[in-house]
Subunit: 125 residues, 2 copies
């Protein structure tokens, strides 16, 4: 499966998904799949702007985790009132990010990103 | 229950806990409870330094989440190779942070912080 199929599988299998994106830590998206009915939510939440800013901050979080003794940063979850954001690091330059509506299946989302991470990283290699 | 009892309850009820701290976003701890056998792990992981840095970065993550349309930031999970860090925001100036060893019970930790948050926030008011 290529990027698009991988991301579509995640979005379709996790309840409450809004969109899933592979992007660089520079905040530039490589591929995005939106849930069929989520276009308006994604627009209202200014997803692209939010994720570009998060990617920038995650560069600093990653450096902090690794500069101290925590080892490599693997995963981040950010839960806000109107959206939960799940991030899995793929390569030193890339991450996959999944946006969920409140009440979405966070546990399933974390699992789906963990399972997809190795395949997505292989596509980026 | 005061701070210390609340934090001790969290550390004792969540498998894999290293330490739990109520701190300001300025990175200064108000109260910390370590798991009985976790002193060496906490020292090895340079917990205090890591958490002060995370608190500083979370100030920026919080501003980003709220400046965009995500609503108030409620919770953050950072998973690295040698430690998982769970954060729950208590007041605009304070947070509670729980460090877990890899394989610790993240789900129970998130639940314990969510349940404790209102009581801890009341103590801070």
């Amino acid at each position: 499966m290529g990027f698009t199929e991988q991301l579509r599988h995640i979005v379709e299998s996790v309840d409450g998904s809004i969109a899933c994106t592979v992007m660089g830590f520079d905040g530039i998206p490589i591929e995005t799949v939106q849930a069929p009915k989520a276009a308006r939510e994604a627009a209202a939440l200014e997803l692209e702007a939010a994720w570009a800013e998060y990617a920038n901050l995650l560069t600093q979080v990653k450096a902090t985790a690794e500069g101290l003794k925590g080892g490599k940063l693997l995963e981040v979850l950010l839960s806000a009132e109107r959206m939960t954001t799940l991030v899995r690091l793929l390569t030193p330059e890339h991450l996959v990010i999944l946006g969920l509506l409140p009440g979405g299946n966070t546990g399933k989302g974390r699992y789906a990103l963990r399972i997809a991470a190795a395949k997505l990283a292989a596509e980026l290699a």
